[in-house]
C-alpha cells in the first residue's frame, strides 16, 4: 500500500501535463482530489460528451443561493485531468476537502457580499473561504481582506524574481520534461512549511479532513492511492500520525444542506482581472501552452497575426518571423530557456503592432485571456438562479404561467414595489416575463401596469443568465455593469441608468453613475451631454418614490451641466437645418432639466448662456429663436429686449429664410403666451408686409410650417391680433387695453354702429336695453 501526494497549482498546464504522466506511470487504484465531497454526485457528468470546459462546480445553499462557492475547471487544470483519468479508467475518484456543507455553515448569515470590483464578474460566491495562497488557489472566492504572506512569492524572491507568476511559469508550467516536478514542489513546500502549522483554524480543519480521507482510503485497502492537492498542503498531508486529533477538529462542526451543479464558466472569469482573487492571469496563454504540441512561440505569434488580420490590420508572415526572432533574442538576453508570455507580448507589440498599444488590447482579450465559454450537459441540476426566482415568485404570489396576467402595481405598497423590482431586474437580464404598459395620468409616478406571461424559453435564458450571478438581484446587477461597459455613447448609458433605476440595484447604479461621469468628461459631443440630463434629473426629482439617493446623482448632473454650458456656444455655430433641429431638442432637454430641478445655481448660468446664444451671429436662426422663446418663458426677457431682437431678426439684411427659422424657433410650443407680445407681432407684420412678392411666395410654405403647430383657435386669435394691431396703428391709439384670459382683446368701439345692433342683442340675451347707457 502506498500513498502518492501530488502538490499542484490549480490551472497549471505544466502541472496538468506532469500529473497526467505521473498517473499513467503510477496506475493508482483510487484518486483523491482536493475538492468538496458534497460535489461527488456531480462527478460522473464530467466525462459527459456535452461537457466542455471551462466549467465550474457550483455548490450553494438552496434557500440562500447567494451563499455559494465556485470551483472552476478548465482543460489544463490538473484536477480536471486527474478526474478525467480516474473516470476513464473506472477507478474511484473522491473529493477529500472539508465538505462545503461545513464551510458554508460556518459563515455568518450575511447578505450577498458587495460584488467584486471589476466588470463582468457575477456577484461571485462569498464563501469566506480564505484561499490559503496562490499555490492553493482553490477557486472559492475569498472574502478575507489580507491574505497571509504568499509562499510562492517568498520562493520566487529567493530565486531572484520579483514576479512570482513569472517564476512559477518558468519553473513549472513551461517545463516539458516533467520528471521530478512533484518531488521538487514537495521539497520546496516542505522547506517553506518547516513547522507544518496551519495558518488558521480553517486550514487546520481542511487539512485534517484531507488526512482523514486518505486514512479512510487506506483502511479500505486500496493499494496505490494518488492524492492531488494544492502544493501548499502537500507536506501537511504526508504527516498522518494523529487520527483522533484530526477527526476531533471537524467532527462536531455544524452543517447546512447544500446542492451542487455544473455551470458554464468563461476564460475571462478564470483571469485575475475580474476580481477573482484566485485565478491565473492569462488562461489563453496557459491553454496554448497546454494545447500546442511544440514550437510554442511560433504558434503563438502566428495566432496573433491571424487575429490582427481578422481585424483588418497588416500582419505579414515576414513580421511573424521577426516577432519570433525578437522574442527569442529577448529570452536569451534575460537568460530564459524559451520566450514566455511577457517576451511574446513585447515582441508582438514591437514588430506586429508597430509599437502601438491599441491592438495589444485585442491580443490581451482574445488571445492571452481568450474568449472560451464552457458548456454543461442539459442533465446538470437546476441552477440557483432558477431556484431564487421560484422562491421570490412564490413569496410575491406571482405565478410562472403561460397565461397572460395583468397587474397594476402601487409602488407605495411594499409587496408591489418588490414585484416591480423583480420584473425590472428580470428585464435587465433579458427575461421579458413582464411587459410594462404605459401609464397615464396623475398616478403615473406611483403606479406601474404590467402584463405577465411566462414563456418556456425563459428557462434556458435563466441558465444562461446564471453566469451573472446566483440570485436575480446579483445577476441583474452584474449584467447591468456589463451592459454599461459596452454602451456605445453617453445617451445609451443614461438610458440604461433609467432602466436600471426601477430595478433597484444600488451597487450597479453607483457604477453606472461613475461611468456616466467618465464618459461625460471625454464626450466631445455637447448634445450627448445635454440629452443625458433629463433622465438624471428625473432620478433626482422622482427617485424618492423608490428610495434612490438623489445626492449620488446630483454631482453627476452638475458635472454634465457645466460641461454642456461650456461647450454649447461653440456647438451652436455653423449648423445646418437638421443639426439645428436636433440642437433645439437638446436645448429643450436642458431646459426641462433646469425647470424640473428648479435650482437657482443652474438657472442663472443657463439664462446667461441662452442670452449669449440669442445675440450671437452665426448661430442658426432656429436655435436663436428657440433661446429667445425660452428666455421669454422664464420671464428673463423684457419686452423692449424682445422688440430689439425681433427687429434684428427681421432686419432686411438677414436672408429671409433665417428670419423664418427664427420665427419658427420662437413660435414652438403653446401659442397663447405669445399673444401678449405686441412688439413681436408688429415686427413680424412689418417684415411680412415689406417682403418682395416673389420672396413672399417662396417663404409662404415655411411660414405655414412655422404656424402649423398651433390649433385652429390659436391661429385665429393670432390672426385677429395682427389685424387688430394694424387697426390700432392706423387709429394711432396705442395703449393699454383690457385683455381677457384667452388673450381676446377688443379695439375701440364705434358707438353709432353699436347702437344699431344693441337692441337686438339685448333681446337675444334677454336683458333690458336702455339707449344711452
Amino acid at each position: 500500500m502506498s500513498v502518492h501526494i501530488f502538490g499542484v497549482r490549480h490551472h497549471g498546464p505544466g502541472c496538468a501535463r506532469a500529473l497526467r504522466a505521473a498517473l499513467e506511470a503510477l496506475q493508482p487504484d483510487i484518486l483523491l482530489v482536493e475538492g468538496p465531497p458534497d460535489a461527488e454526485g456531480a462527478l460522473p457528468l464530467l466525462t459527459h460528451e456535452a461537457m466542455k470546459p471551462p466549467v465550474a462546480l457550483l455548490i450553494y445553499v438552496p434557500d440562500q443561493p447567494s451563499r455559494a462557492v465556485f470551483y472552476p475547471f478548465t482543460t489544463f487544470s490538473p484536477e480536471w485531468q486527474a478526474l478525467g483519468y480516474a473516470l476513464g479508467r473506472g477507478i474511484p475518484a473522491r473529493f477529500m476537502d472539508l465538505p462545503q456543507a461545513i464551510q458554508l455553515a460556518r459563515e455568518p448569515v450575511a447578505e450577498e457580499q458587495a460584488t467584486p470590483p471589476a466588470d463582468d464578474l457575477p456577484a461571485a460566491a462569498d464563501s469566506g473561504h480564505p484561499h490559503s495562497a496562490p499555490t492553493d488557489e482553490k477557486p472559492a472566492i475569498s472574502a478575507t481582506a489580507t491574505p497571509p504572506p504568499d509562499p510562492l512569492a517568498m520562493l520566487a524572491e529567493a530565486a531572484g524574481y520579483d514576479d512570482h507568476e513569472l517564476w512559477w511559469e518558468q519553473q513549472i508550467e513551461q517545463r516539458r520534461d516533467s520528471t521530478g516536478v512533484f518531488e521538487g514542489i514537495f521539497e520546496a513546500m516542505s522547506a517553506l512549511r518547516a513547522d507544518l502549522t496551519p495558518r488558521d483554524d480553517e486550514e487546520a480543519q481542511r487539512e485534517a479532513h484531507m488526512r482523514s480521507s486518505i486514512r479512510a482510503a487506506e483502511g479500505e485497502g486500496f493499494a496505490r492511492i494518488a492524492v492531488v492537492c494544492g502544493a501548499w498542503h502537500a507536506p501537511a498531508l504526508a504527516q498522518r500520525d494523529d487520527a483522533k486529533a484530526d477527526t476531533a477538529l471537524f467532527a462536531k462542526l455544524k452543517r447546512v444542506k447544500v446542492e451542487t451543479t455544473w455551470i458554464p464558466w468563461t476564460n475571462s472569469r478564470l483571469a485575475y482581472r475580474s476580481g477573482y482573487g484566485a485565478g491565473i492571469t492569462s488562461p489563453g496563454w496557459y491553454g496554448h501552452l497546454w494545447a500546442a504540441p511544440d514550437r510554442v512561440p511560433i504558434r503563438w505569434a502566428t495566432q496573433a497575426a491571424q487575429l490582427l488580420r481578422g481585424e483588418g490590420l497588416d500582419a505579414s508572415s515576414a513580421s511573424v518571423i521577426e516577432t519570433v526572432r525578437l522574442s527569442e533574442a529577448l529570452a536569451a538576453m534575460r537568460g530564459l530557456p524559451m520566450p514566455g508570455m511577457a517576451e511574446m507580448r513585447e515582441a508582438i507589440q514591437t514588430v506586429l503592432c508597430h509599437g502601438e498599444t491599441a491592438p495589444m488590447q485585442l491580443i490581451r482579450d482574445k488571445l492571452e485571456i481568450g474568449e472560451a465559454m464552457g458548456e454543461v450537459p442539459p442533465e446538470a441540476p437546476a441552477v440557483p438562479l432558477q431556484r431564487d426566482l421560484d422562491a421570490q415568485a412564490r413569496r410575491l404570489t406571482l405565478k410562472l404561467t403561460a397565461e397572460i396576467k395583468d397587474y397594476d402595481l402601487d409602488l407605495r405598497k411594499d409587496t408591489d414595489r418588490v414585484r416591480s423590482q423583480l420584473l425590472h431586474r428580470l428585464g435587465m437580464l433579458g427575461i421579458g416575463w413582464g411587459e410594462e404598459q404605459h401609464t397615464y395620468g396623475k398616478l403615473g409616478t406611483f403606479h406601474e401596469k404590467w402584463r405577465l406571461q411566462w414563456q418556456p424559453e425563459f428557462a434556458v435564458a435563466l441558465i444562461e443568465a446564471n453566469i451573472w450571478g446566483n440570485t436575480v438581484a446579483s445577476a441583474a446587477a452584474a449584467r447591468t455593469r456589463q451592459l454599461a461597459t459596452v454602451a456605445p455613447d453617453l445617451p445609451a448609458l443614461t438610458a440604461l441608468l433609467e432602466r436600471a433605476l426601477p430595478a433597484d440595484l444600488p451597487d450597479a447604479l453607483e457604477d453606472l453613475l461613475e461611468r456616466v461621469r467618465d464618459r461625460a468628461a471625454v464626450s466631445s459631443d455637447v448634445r450627448h451631454l445635454m440629452d443625458a440630463l433629463p433622465p438624471l434629473a428625473r432620478i433626482v426629482r422622482y427617485g424618492d418614490v423608490r428610495g434612490t439617493k438623489a445626492e449620488r446623482v446630483t454631482p453627476v448632473i452638475d458635472a454634465l451641466f457645466e460641461r454642456a454650458l461650456v461647450g454649447l456656444p461653440g456647438a451652436c455655430l455653423s449648423l445646418d437645418d437638421d443639426a439645428a433641429t436636433a440642437m433645439v431638442t437638446s436645448i429643450d432637454n436642458v431646459q426641462e432639466t433646469v425647470s424640473m430641478l428648479n435650482r437657482d445655481d443652474q438657472r442663472a448660468p443657463w439664462l446667461a448662456t441662452l442670452r449669449l446664444l440669442v445675440d450671437r451671429d452665426g448661430v442658426h436662426g432656429l436655435v436663436r429663436g428657440r433661446c429667445c422663446r425660452l428666455l421669454l418663458e422664464m420671464r428673463a426677457l423684457a419686452s423692449e429686449e424682445l422688440r430689439r431682437l425681433a427687429g434684428l431678426a427681421f432686419s432686411p439684411v438677414n436672408p429671409p429664410e433665417q428670419a423664418v427659422d427664427w420665427i419658427e424657433g420662437v413660435l414652438r410650443g403653446p401659442g397663447l403666451k405669445l399673444l401678449q407680445q405686441d412688439d413681436l407681432w408688429r415686427a413680424l407684420d412689418a417684415w411680412l408686409a415689406n417682403l418682395a412678392p416673389d420672396i413672399f411666395v417662396t417663404l409662404l410654405p415655411l411660414l405655414r410650417r412655422a404656424f402649423s403647430g398651433f390649433s385652429a383657435p390659436e391661429r385665429r386669435q393670432m390672426g385677429e391680433k395682427v389685424k387688430l394691431l394694424s387697426v390700432e396703428e392706423a387709429a394711432g391709439t396705442l395703449g393699454v387695453r383690457p385683455s381677457g384670459e384667452g388673450g381676446a382683446t377688443h379695439g375701440p368701439i364705434a358707438q353709432e354702429r353699436a347702437n344699431t345692433v344693441l337692441p337686438v342683442l339685448a333681446q337675444i340675451l334677454g336683458v333690458n336695453y336702455e339707449p344711452g347707457n
Binding site: A318, E322, R325, A329, C353, V522, E562, R563, V566
Partner: protein
C-alpha cells in the same frame, strides 16, 4: 545637389580640445564607463559589437558593476523597453524609436550607438530637405569633372560609411524626410546593400551594421512611413515619464539649469509651483486627474515635459522682469494657457472645462484659477 557633407570621422580629427566643445559625444563623455564595462564584459557579443547586449543594457540603465564601479543611468524609465531595443539590434533588425517630442528618443539612440559600436556620430538629420545623397552618396563634382566617375569622387554618406565599417547609422526625425527619399532605405534595410551603378559596384554592409531611427508620433501626418518601410523596423514607443515625482524631478533640474544659463534674477521656483504645473500637464495629457477620479479631455498639443519646463522658465522670466521676483500663479497663467491652447477653438473648450471642473474645485488652487480665467 552638391552635398558637401564631410565625413564625420574627419570632423572629429579636426575637433578642438575635448573640454572646450559645447557638448561632447556620448562615447566621449562616458568613455570611462564604457571602458569599465568592456573590462568586465565576458558575455557573448553579436559580431562587431563592442559590448554584449547585457552590458549595453547595463550602460543605458545604470547600476553597480560586479567590480564595484557605478554606471550612471542614461535612460530613466521602463527597463523592458531598453531590453527590447537592444534585442532588436541584436537580431539585426532596424530600430525605430517612436514617441512624442521630449521623450529622450535621440538621447537613447545616441547612447545605444555609442555603447554598441563606440561611435554615435554616423548621423543623418531628417528634414524636409533631406535628399537621397544624404542617405546614399553624393559626388565631389570638381573631381567628377576632372577624373570622371571614380570611387575617389564619391562623397560617402554616414549610412554608406556605417555599412562599410559595420557600425550603426542613426537617422533623426525619420518622418520629416520626404516619402520618396525614405524609400531608399528599403533596399538598405532588407538587402543590406547599396548599389553604386555609376561605378558598377555596390557596398555590402558588414556585420554589425544597423540603423536606429527616431520619429515623432505627433507628426505622423507629415510623411508617414510607407507600410513597406514600417515593416522593416521594430518599433519601440518611448512614453512620457511614468510618475509624477519622476517628472517633477526632471522639470526642477532643467528649470534650475536653464535659470542659471539665462542668469535670471528670480528666486528658484517653489516646488509647489512646479508640482502644480506638472500636475496640470500630466492630467491633461493623461485625460484623467491624478487621483484617478475625474476624467478630463486632452488638448491637441503634446504637453511634453519639455513644454512644462518652458512654462516654468517663462513664468520665472515674467516674475523676474515684471513681477516681484517671486513666482506667482499670475506669472504662470499666460505661459500655461499658451502651452495648452494650440487650437483656438477646441483646446479653449478643453482648457475651460478643465478650469471649471478641476482647478476651481481644488484646494489652494483658487489663485491659479483666477489668474488663468483672466488671461482667457
Amino acid at each position: 545637389m552638391t552635398n558637401q557633407k564631410k565625413a564625420p570621422a574627419t570632423v572629429i580629427a579636426d575637433a578642438p580640445a575635448l573640454e572646450s566643445v559645447l557638448r561632447q559625444h556620448a562615447e566621449q563623455q562616458f568613455a570611462e564607463e564604457l571602458a569599465e564595462l568592456v573590462k568586465i564584459d565576458d558575455r557573448q557579443r553579436p559580431p562587431n559589437w563592442k559590448l554584449s547586449p547585457w552590458a549595453v543594457r547595463a550602460y543605458l540603465l545604470g547600476g553597480k558593476l560586479p567590480n564595484g564601479f557605478t554606471v550612471s543611468p542614461k535612460y530613466i524609465g521602463n527597463a523592458r523597453l531598453i531590453e527590447i531595443a537592444v534585442a532588436t539590434l541584436a537580431t539585426d533588425r532596424a530600430l525605430l524609436l517612436y514617441g512624442v517630442p521630449g521623450t529622450a528618443k535621440s538621447w537613447t539612440s545616441e547612447h545605444l550607438a555609442a555603447a554598441i559600436t563606440g561611435d554615435s556620430t554616423l548621423m543623418i538629420q531628417g528634414t524636409a530637405g533631406t535628399d537621397e545623397a544624404a542617405i546614399r552618396y553624393g559626388w565631389n563634382y570638381a573631381r567628377l569633372l576632372v577624373e570622371g566617375p571614380s570611387p575617389a569622387a564619391l562623397v560617402v554618406s554616414p549610412m554608406m560609411q556605417a555599412m562599410q565599417s559595420g557600425n550603426i547609422a542613426r537617422i533623426e526625425e525619420l518622418t520629416r524626410i520626404p516619402a520618396e527619399v525614405q524609400d531608399t532605405l528599403i533596399t538598405i534595410l532588407s538587402e543590406k546593400t547599396l548599389p553604386v551603378p555609376e561605378l558598377g559596384m555596390e557596398v555590402q554592409a558588414r556585420k554589425g551594421f544597423n540603423v536606429i531611427a527616431t520619429a515623432n508620433n505627433r507628426d505622423k501626418g507629415v510623411n508617414e512611413l510607407s507600410s513597406a518601410l514600417t515593416r522593416r523596423f521594430n518599433t519601440v514607443v518611448l512614453p512620457t515619464p511614468a510618475t509624477m515625482d519622476e517628472e517633477i524631478d526632471i522639470v526642477e533640474r532643467r528649470v534650475a539649469s536653464l535659470g542659471r544659463a539665462l542668469e535670471l534674477p528670480a528666486e528658484k521656483p517653489a516646488l509647489e509651483e512646479i508640482r502644480r504645473v506638472v500636475t496640470v500637464f500630466r492630467e491633461l495629457r493623461a485625460g484623467v486627474t491624478e487621483d484617478g477620479k475625474t476624467k478630463v479631455k486632452s488638448p491637441s498639443g503634446t504637453l511634453s515635459t519639455a513644454e512644462a519646463i518652458s512654462v516654468m522658465t517663462n513664468g520665472l522670466t515674467m516674475a523676474a522682469y515684471y513681477g516681484d521676483g517671486l513666482l506667482h500663479a499670475g506669472d504662470l497663467a499666460a505661459g500655461l494657457t499658451g502651452a495648452i491652447i494650440k487650437d483656438p477653438v477646441q483646446d479653449r473648450v478643453v482648457w475651460l472645462e478643465y478650469l471649471q471642473t478641476v482647478v476651481k474645485e481644488r484646494d489652494g488652487w483658487k489663485d491659479l484659477y483666477r489668474a488663468c480665467h483672466e488671461v482667457l
